[in-house]
Each structure stands twice: as C-alpha cells, then as structure tokens.
Subunit: 273 residues, 4 copies
Amino acid sequence: MTEGARGSRLRGYTVPRTPGGRASLVPRPPWHYVGDFMVVDYWADPEACRALLPEGVEPHPDAGRCAAIFVEWQSCSEGGEELLDPARSQYREFFLVVNGLLDGEEVTTCPFIWVDQDFALARGWIQGFPKKLGEVWMTRTFGLDVTADPGRGPGARYGATCSARGRLLAEMTLTVEGTSDEGPRHNAPPLVNVRHFPRLEAGRHDEPAVHELVRAKSRDRASSEVLEGSATLKLHAAPGEEHDGLAPVRVGRGYRFTFGYTVDDLETVRELS
Amino acid sequence: MTEGARGSRLRGYTVPRTPGGRASLVPRPPWHYVGDFMVVDYWADPEACRALLPEGVEPHPDAGRCAAIFVEWQSCSEGGEELLDPARSQYREFFLVVNGLLDGEEVTTCPFIWVDQDFALARGWIQGFPKKLGEVWMTRTFGLDVTADPGRGPGARYGATCSARGRLLAEMTLTVEGTSDEGPRHNAPPLVNVRHFPRLEAGRHDEPAVHELVRAKSRDRASSEVLEGSATLKLHAAPGEEHDGLAPVRVGRGYRFTFGYTVDDLETVRELS
Amino acid sequence: MTEGARGSRLRGYTVPRTPGGRASLVPRPPWHYVGDFMVVDYWADPEACRALLPEGVEPHPDAGRCAAIFVEWQSCSEGGEELLDPARSQYREFFLVVNGLLDGEEVTTCPFIWVDQDFALARGWIQGFPKKLGEVWMTRTFGLDVTADPGRGPGARYGATCSARGRLLAEMTLTVEGTSDEGPRHNAPPLVNVRHFPRLEAGRHDEPAVHELVRAKSRDRASSEVLEGSATLKLHAAPGEEHDGLAPVRVGRGYRFTFGYTVDDLETVRELS
Amino acid sequence: MTEGARGSRLRGYTVPRTPGGRASLVPRPPWHYVGDFMVVDYWADPEACRALLPEGVEPHPDAGRCAAIFVEWQSCSEGGEELLDPARSQYREFFLVVNGLLDGEEVTTCPFIWVDQDFALARGWIQGFPKKLGEVWMTRTFGLDVTADPGRGPGARYGATCSARGRLLAEMTLTVEGTSDEGPRHNAPPLVNVRHFPRLEAGRHDEPAVHELVRAKSRDRASSEVLEGSATLKLHAAPGEEHDGLAPVRVGRGYRFTFGYTVDDLETVRELS
C-alpha cells in the first residue's frame, strides 16, 4: 500500500484505528507483565477435561490434571507510559488450565478465563484466551507485621474469589506452610490456545474467520520465591457458564508468588477445521 | 468434520467454546435489539472526518457530517432466554458516526464507540464496531407527570454522559420542542464498518488476520414516534482516546426515540490491504 | 450561631460540608422520585419475621407477610438539576419489607435493602433504610412490538436480580396475566424504619448516637396502571448477609408499575433504648 | 433493656441490624488496617483552606498547608475473617487534608475523601470522614526487576488517579529519589474531623442529629521505610464537587510507604452548634 492511499492513515494494533494510533484498545506488542499469583494444582473429572481440549490436543496421562490461577496484573507496552495511569495498566484475572499432550509433548490449555478490564479482554482474545469480564479479588500482603496483613510465614492465610454478572464462580484459599522449591506443576507446561474470531454472514456462522491452534511464546521471565501450602478450591455453576464442569475431584497444593514476563510473539501450530 | 473428530465437541459462536455451547460470550445470531435513543446531528472538522474514513470510503459532500448517539439497549438471542436475566441482556452505549460515500452511495461509519458490557463489546467487534468499555448514562422518562420525570412535552430536558477509565468523554443535552416527521438524518444512511482482528506472530503485527470492509444488514426494524429539539454536544480529550478530534464545529438538532431491530447477517464489501 | 462565627461558612445537608454547599453527597430535601417497580407479595417464616421487627413493632396477624421489591429510580432535589446528569439521579434498588403492627396499626418495616449509588445509600440511612451497595437488574419494556421487548400483554415475562460483592442475593420473575385493580398489598401499609448512627468512643460501641423509630412521610404520590401476574422469588445466602432468613415459604402475586413521590419530612415515633 | 425485651434480638454495630448481627455493613471495632500510601505535601490557597476548617479549628500559621493521599487498604475486624474474602476487606481511597490549630495544637482535618467500597464509606462517616464513592488507582511495585515494575530505586515513577461519577478528580505522580528519614509532614498531625448525621423532620433540616468535632485515636501503628521524591498533583473541577478549591499553589515532596494501625476509639472534642 502506497503512503498516499486512502486508509493508510488509520493506525493502531487493534480497533479503534485512528490517524494518531493512540486510541487502539490494545497497544502494539511487546507487552510487559508483572503480577502476584495464587495457584492451586488440582484434578477434575477426566471426561470433562477431555471434552474441553482443543482439536489436536490429547488427554494428559495423569487424567484430569488442572490448575486454577488468580493473578493481580500490572502490564504496559514499550515505553511503559501506561504505568503512570494505572487504570490502563492494572487488571485482575482468574483462569483454569487443563493439561494435555500435543504431538506427545505436555501442554496446558485455557478453557475459561475472566478479567476486569477491556484492554486485557481484547489482548486475551488475540492470544487465544477465551476471556470474559468478571470481578476478581485476592488477599494481599503488605510486608508489615500487623493484624490486617497475613504475612508470609507458616499459617498465613490467603483467599481469592471470582464472580461475573453477580454470580460467584470460584473461591480459593491457601494456608502457607513454607517455601517451595518447584512451584506449581500443573500450569508449568507450555500454553496452547485457540484463536477464534467468528463470521456474521448469513449461512457462515459456523465458519469462523480465524480458527487456529497457537502456542504461547514469552521472554524475559522472572519469578520470586514461591510460598506453598494447603489449599481449597470451589467452582460454582452460573447461567451462561460451564466452568463448573471442571470442579475439583482432588485438590493438590496451593502456591503464592510473583511472576513477570514479556510477550510479543505467538506460534501458529495449525489451522483448525 | 466427522462427528467423532476431536474438537467437534466444542461448540459456541464465540469463545469460550465448550461441549454445551452455553458459555459462549456472544450467543449465535440472530440478535434481537430494542433501545431508547438520544441522537444529535452535527458537523465536525471535515479533515478530521476524512482522516477517519475506512479505506475505500470517500468524504461526504456535506463536509464534516456526523452524529452522536446514546442508547440504552436490551437485546437477546433466539428464544429470548437472556431477557429474564437482564444482566445478560441490557447494556448502554455511546458512539459517533461519520458520513461518507461508498461507490457513490451515502453511508455512515463508526470510528468510536463505548459500551458497558462484555457481550456487547465482543458482539460489536464481530460486526466491525470498534468497541471499548465505558460508563454511559441517559435521562429517562417514566410516563408519570411528576417532578422527577422530564416528560415528553415541549421544554422537557434530557442529558447523557459517557466516560471511560474515569475520564468524561462526551456530554449531550436535548430540550424537546415537539415531534419530528423525519428523525435524525446523519445516522440514517447504511452503516459501513471495518472488521479487524490482529496477528501476534513476530514480524506480522501489521498484517491483521481479519481486515475487511463490511456493510451492516438488519431486519424487522421498528421505531416509535420521534421527539425533536435543540441540543448540545461536547467531546472531551482523554489519555488513550482520539474521539475529541470529532468535536462539533456546528450542532444540529437533537432527537429522542425508541428503536428495535434484528441482526443475523453482514455483507463483506471488500478485503482491505 | 451568629453569621460571623467560624464554621458558619460550612454548608451542606450531609457531608462533605463546604463553603458552597454543592459537594454534599445528598442535596437537601425535598427529594423527588419516579421509578419502575416489580413487587412480589409473599410470606416468610413467621419467627424470622418477628425476629427482625424493630423494638415496639408487633408481629402482623397474617403471620410472615412480606414483600420483595425491585425499583429502577430516577430522583432529584428541588430545581431538578441532577436530571440532566443522570449519573447523579438514577439508581437501582432491591429491598424486602416485613409487615407488622405499630400501636395496632398495620405497618411495614424494611430490614434489608441494596442500592447501586452512594447518594442513594446515604439518603437511605437518613430515612432509616439499612442500605448497602449491590448490583440490581430489571427487565425493561420499551413500548415496541419487537422480540427484545416483553411488552405488557398476557404472557409477558420479566426478571430481576440483586447481587452484592459478587454473590447473588435475590431473583424474581413475573409473568403478566393482566391489569390489577388493587396492586400489591404487602408493601402498602405505612413504612416504619429505624434511624441508627453508631458511636466509636471506647466503651460506648453499644450506645448508638442516633437510634429512633421513624415513620416515613411522603407527598405528591402518583402511580401508573398496575400489571399483575404469577411470580417467583428466591433469596440466596451469602457471607455477611442474613436476608435469606426471609426466604419465601409461600409466594403470592407479582406486580409491575411505575410510581413517583416526594419526600421532605419524617416523623419520629420514639427514641429506642 | 432486659434480655427478653422486643428489639433486644437485633444486633449489629451498624445497620442492617439482625438477630445474628452478621449483616452489619460495618463490623464492630476494633478495625485493623494496612495499606500502601502515596502522599504529596503541598500548599493550597490559604483562604480556601480557612473556609474549609471545622468550627473551632484555627488556620495553620504555615498558611495553606495541605496533603493529598492515595491509599490501597486492606482491613478487617477482630478475628480477621474478612481477610479471606477480600471483597469485604480491600478498598482504595483518595483524600485531602488541611492543616490547622486546635487549642494551639497542630492538627489536620479531612474535607474531601473518596473510597470504592460501601463498608469503607460507612465506617468513614462514623469516624467523621466525609466519604463519597470514587474509583481510585495507584501504580504498584511487585518486587521484581522487570519492565512492568517501576521498582523502588531512584527514577522509579508512580502514578495515581481518583475519579467519581465518570469525572477525573485528582492525578498524582511521584518520581523516587531515595529514602526519607522523616516521611510526609503535612498529614502527620493528629486528625480532627466532624461527625455529622442529618435530620429529615420538616423544619429541622438544618439541625443535624449528630454534629460533633472529634479527634481520631489509633494504636498499634507500624510503618515501612519511606521513599521520597519529586511529585506532581492536579485537582480537577467536577459537578457536585468542591475539592478543586484546594488545588495546589505550591507542591512539595512526594512519598511512598506502607502503614498499618488499629482503630477502636474516638475522642469527642466538642458538640458543634
């Protein structure tokens, strides 16, 4: 397209695309992230897990392996301008991952995820995360030895909840026992998601314009020490939701840590039918 | 794809796609809508309008023709189940349209739009509306002759505001003078938008996976009587926004009415480069 | 207090009190209201009702008589300035009333109520309504004969929900059968509430600064035609809530109508111990 | 009141008062707090400060001394049950304080304050803080050396905003230069506020039921190291607000730290006329 062509003036990684390119809901990559995590490794009904795997992903041999993850994120694009306007850089998230095998390799896939900001929702769709809006809360520690701060020592208790449309969807608690050498295992494998964008033309509602299996890529990963302990997890049914099919049949360990990374790439594994 | 194929079990018009298909953020079309509208016909800086037209749309001969529209919507999919759960059927919206010509025919295009629900945001992206989240308020009438009800008679006053991320983006007022035979003119022509969905692969951030000029289609349209009167409109600058480039240089008439229609189709005009 | 005294400059019916008096969270009375109502007459466990009656109010002879009420309100103070800024005039509300006898006269009292705006919360406390914040949704009718509008005819269905802190607290549905001559009966008697404002001085936490039984007064009441039909009502338990003790044991009729009135007075019945 | 008296069954430090006492919007004291602070010491127009002082508080000799404070709080009552349900323990706050003299002693008073949770709003009114609802955002640090984390070193930049009803009310930035020995000075003196609760009886709207000058009391105070640096502060006008009268004429230093304390007492200085 030549410089003078009509439309060449519209810039922006996403809509709205404008002459200045500053209105784009999601700024162009790279996207830098840092966040506080609460994770619970658990097992759901194996058949429910199998039914949620994307086309081409096989069930994991440790049938029903899942993780539930709460995060309080802060993120920005290159230059970090959003960090000074935290309404544009902070969001909270809850998601579930199911373990599987892709071409024999361990992977995770994310069938359900909620966030509380529009830019995070759209950025998720671009990466293949099936995001909806929800309200997410996590107990925090502030590093002071006072009653309102659970602290980081043995016995410290943390809670987290996710709701959407006024319905409680998930509750998690963690009781710290000590530090962990390994950290959570069920969300450790590489993430494989499905990018999907529908068509609206009559007769083609079942032929998405984008439908592809993708593998997440990231760089510049950094992590804090990991706290570990006993955990609880409940998933609740709600109208217009199906995540409760992944309710835990067995709950493993819970974890709390801080993690950061950068995303500016994605690998397309294959087009889906 | 045969019934037994892996992945065939995942159903849903949008993500999240699930075995039951009930978790899809946007239910499959048709989508039925009804809403209360406040509209102001106005003119913005012609160069600002021209710079926002999609590739292939020419400036309108009445240079700078725009409209600003507030709507309180209620919508549902076939069967109407969402109507009993209004958290899943109601949303509020503010948008701007710019007039242009496509192949010599009058059209409108929507460069900026805000809604307050996730399903409406995603449904908008599918139709080519560049939606973000915002907070939208409109004065209502309840049909009682009491002080808190502006009523529908001459002198009745209505206000509306849109904000996002804690910044005021738009303010409108209408003072009713009487009924209108024609209704608003600047948002009457057919709507032409750009469907756009980015890529994340490194090196391809400027090659969207979907980038197409589309023409909205609708059916079963119904409208109430239209109130008309004098109007005011202000658009305010905000970080990460560019809609204020369409601030009014001249304000026409304001309108208030109720409108309903059904959408289950879209015409792709052409692929964009 | 003489005009020149320090502090005389601070004006405002509520805090924040300022030189201009314009920052008061609640403008001074009168307060003009209009709203769309959904009401269900029902009966709860008589002992649960009795336990919630204010000191001095006797149980109603029709044991367990209650009503559940959803309202979408628009309100303003004298002059009506807020009507043009609907973020300061509109709010949504859900409340329960229990019937009783005060000095032998039928009354209602409101033990639980949620609204979605701060000015409504504070205005409620001043009137003796024990308001908390919640999210409230009600199906609307727009007066058009389209699929997304339930209309007002027999078979029209309406739903409403209230949630707080991400937990669903109440669900109501109404299926219209026709118009009603009388309207709801369980919320018809005069309203008697308890104004209560605590002390914080050590040793006096159980001696509220304000603790008085009050009878609501209103004027300039107006009502629309009333729709009536069959109804459902569910109240759900949630942490930090006790309204579910008033869950229905028998559900009566449901109603939908519009109502307006003005409040600028209150009768103190007696000081409570 | 004897145990058997009617009404003795209603328990709760605030409304709603119930048989179980668990529905009270604010649990009974003590209240334990911990929070991350951003503070800017500054000076406003001396006459604007004087006009906002409560009756009985004299202007500070350092005319116009004010501070602006953002806080992300976590709080709980005795037993700490709310900490596991962070929707009931976390809130964000922005407030302004003006310095003055009470009986010759340096004090601060809070004329304007916004929070984002109902329990915090009501708890504030009980303490004499004139709270309204708003949306508050503060940049966070997570303790990792990654791009999305500003860190704590020289040059680290933090931002904060407060808005209400869709209007931006305040913006603050801090650029860290190093640690501070003293911390902020303008919000250090004891806090003196006005508890105020109106009457609604006709003819008595100007005779509040509660109107008293109070001095805050706290215990078990703890603080982190304090970061200090250069700062900016802007206060913006908005309908129904007057805080912008305290806009800075000179901006001092900015600070960032963590602070915790416990409140279960309050001293009444005097009844106001």
